[in-house]
């Protein structure tokens, strides 16, 4: 009798194993839910619903933006499409920023890199960071200490201009400079 029970168990074990390998793409849950599974599954479902978190922490936590807090004394510099090298027309602006920083030792600068909104957010965030870093490297080459410069990328998330036209996209492909008094942590 024990042997029969063992065989019965083995048959079911094999049956289950087979069922599992049949559907290698699944993360575990079989098609429909049995009563037990649904009851087990409804706990997280419910806890999510009950916790009304929408908007709860929006006010509590940090704003990522900085440029709203301080108006820039400097012009933006512009970049070519999908490029991050410093154009010749950007050099006078950067030279002006470098000499300003060298003459005012208490200040620091935030460089924001931006992109136009064509293309993918993730790639554009990396591109925006490279644009801000290019500007940083130029300032460092003009004698500004790298400790006084912080770079931030916004990618395509803060466009100045919303029209789908090259003149507008050009305005968005920029590095923006914000002078800040506070020291960076």
């Amino acid at each position: 009798m024990k042997r029969i029970a063992a065989i019965v168990l083995m048959v079911f074990a094999l049956g289950c194993a087979k069922k599992y390998t049949k559907a290698p793409d699944t993360a575990g849950a079989p098609g429909g839910l049995t009563q037990e599974e649904l009851e087990a599954g409804r706990i997280p479902e419910e806890s999510v619903t009950e916790m009304d978190i929408a908007g709860r922490d929006a006010a509590a936590e940090s704003d990522f933006s900085l440029d709203d807090q301080g108006k820039s004394a400097f012009k933006d510099i512009y970049f070519d499409y999908d490029q991050y090298d410093i154009r010749t027309d950007a050099r006078p602006v950067l030279d002006g920023i470098a000499s300003f920083l060298k003459n005012s030792g208490e200040t620091n600068i935030v460089i924001e890199g931006h992109c136009d909104d064509r293309g993918t957010n993730e790639y554009n965030l990396a591109l925006g960071e490279n644009r801000a870093k290019s500007a940083k490297n130029y300032l460092v080459s003009r004698g500004v200490s790298p400790d006084r410069i912080i770079v931030i990328t916004f990618g395509e998330e803060k466009p100045l201009c919303m029209e789908p036209a090259e003149s507008c996209w050009q305005q968005n492909r920029r590095a923006h400079f914000v002078i800040v008094k506070s020291r960076f942590q």
């Binding site: 079911f12 559907a23 793409d25 098609g31 993918t120 957010n121 993730e122 790639y123």
Partner: protein, 402 residues
């Protein structure tokens, strides 16, 4: 002993009873390219709750393109689904499927829930499984980003059909995000207080923890079934691809190039990573093994190809590519051999496969404000699932969820 035997039968068989002879029958072979439509009749008692359930089930099954619905009393149905609904301390449903040709019941199941929509989706899953022999995706979810102000994006989550959306995090500027393969965690990169960190969010406790932090831009790509996380970080200068595990351990640098490398996703078997690199001068899709070796460029058409998403069977990679000045969704075979274009109007970006591989979610500005759409790869049927007034983007389809 016989009692024990019966007990085992009862446990394994509870809720599901399929006569042995019907076990092998698959009504629709969804792996075949020319699959027919199954005529299905749904009968409910007609109470408000049962009507709501019926309408959700019809919407679920209808979008698969695999069913036609036959009204009660009209001939022509092959299967009848009887959905009995009892409302007392939640909803108690008895689902019975009858094969009218063989004249027998092929499924009987009892379901209990206090929430209508997941209950209805479970009914759809049960019908779909009986008819196709495959798991349905009606209880899956989609995470996506909502642009609430310039420089501010929050991560939200909704059912696959766009219902029951809720905020996961509203802090800062959230960007790339993905699911753990067990469906228990969300991972996302968020810019807060001048730092881009990667966070992990426990969906059971609805709680956020920091997973990875470093100087520069840090973005999460994808996860593998062996609990690996692929990410990009510019901590060493330009953006490179790294992997680590879900606990933040085993950090490894995979790429070493003087270029932007972002958006890494694992192949379903976890053996390769697809990612975006501009090492050739423009952003293109590449794949490599987990050591960074055996590098292959997949896309050569056009000068801007980004956002790879690997299909669950590993055969295809969906991506967004620019053609005639607009971004469209394409699929390329993972060996680069064949390309298909999925979209044609507006700008379409950020594709993500459903876990059954039959649908792709993406964002599009074709109707004005950017929103989330899903397209059926069976019949090309499309629908917008986010409201017209919401600015939504970057959908990530969940794995199968319990």
């Amino acid at each position: 002993m016989i009692r024990i035997f019966l007990f085992i039968i009862l446990i394994l068989g509870s809720g599901v009873w399929i006569p042995p002879s019907a076990e092998a029958k698959v009504y629709l072979d969804i792996t075949s390219p020319a699959v027919r439509k199954l005529p299905l009749m749904i009968r409910t008692p007609g109470t408000p709750a049962s009507r709501e359930i019926e309408s959700i089930v019809k919407s679920d099954l209808g979008f698969t393109g695999l069913f036609t619905f036959v009204d009660p009393g009209v001939p022509g149905a092959e299967i009848i689904a009887d959905i009995g609904v009892e409302v007392s301390d939640g909803f108690r449903v008895t689902l019975s499927l009858q094969d009218l040709i063989m004249n027998r019941e092929v499924l009987r199941r009892r379901l209990i829930s206090s929430v209508v929509r997941p209950l209805a989706h479970s009914i759809s899953d049960a019908i779909y499984m009986t008819v196709t022999g495959k798991e349905g995706m009606f209880r899956t979810k989609i995470t996506y980003l909502v642009n609430t102000a310039p420089g501010r994006k929050e991560l939200q989550m909704m059912d696959w059909d766009g219902a029951r959306s809720r905020t996961v995090t509203a802090k800062g500027l959230t960007s790339s995000h993905c699911w753990s393969q067990d469906g228990k965690y969300l991972l996302y990169a968020s810019g807060r207080k001048r730092k881009w960190k990667i966070y992990i969010f426990d969906l059971k406790d609805f709680r956020e923890m920091t997973l990875f932090t470093a100087e520069g831009l840090n973005m999460v790509g994808g996860t593998s079934r062996s609990e690996l996380v692929a990410l990009s970080s510019s901590r060493d200068g330009d953006s490179e691809i790294f992997t680590m595990d879900l606990y933040g351990k085993g950090f490894r640098k995979i790429t070493r190039s003087f270029a932007i490398d972002v958006s890494p996703v694992f192949s379903p078997d976890g053996s390769r990573i697809a990612f975006v690199s501009d090492r050739g001068g423009t952003p293109q899709i590449y794949t490599m093994n987990l050591q960074g070796g055996d590098l292959r460029r997949l896309t050569f058409e056009g000068s801007y190809n980004t956002s790879p998403s690997w299909s669950p069977d590993g055969k295809w990679i969906a991506y967004s590519g620019r053609t005639h000045g607009k971004n469209q969704i394409f699929m390329v075979q993972s060996d680069g051999s064949e390309i298909k274009q999925l979209t044609g109007s507006g700008n379409n970006e950020n594709p993500s496969f459903s876990p059954d591989g039959f649908f792709v979610a993406f964002d599009s500005d074709r109707d004005g404000r950017r929103g989330i759409y899903i397209v059926s790869l069976r019949d090309g049927g499309e629908k917008r699932i986010t409201p017209k007034k919401m600015r939504a983007s970057s959908p990530e389809w969940s794995p199968y969820l319990k």
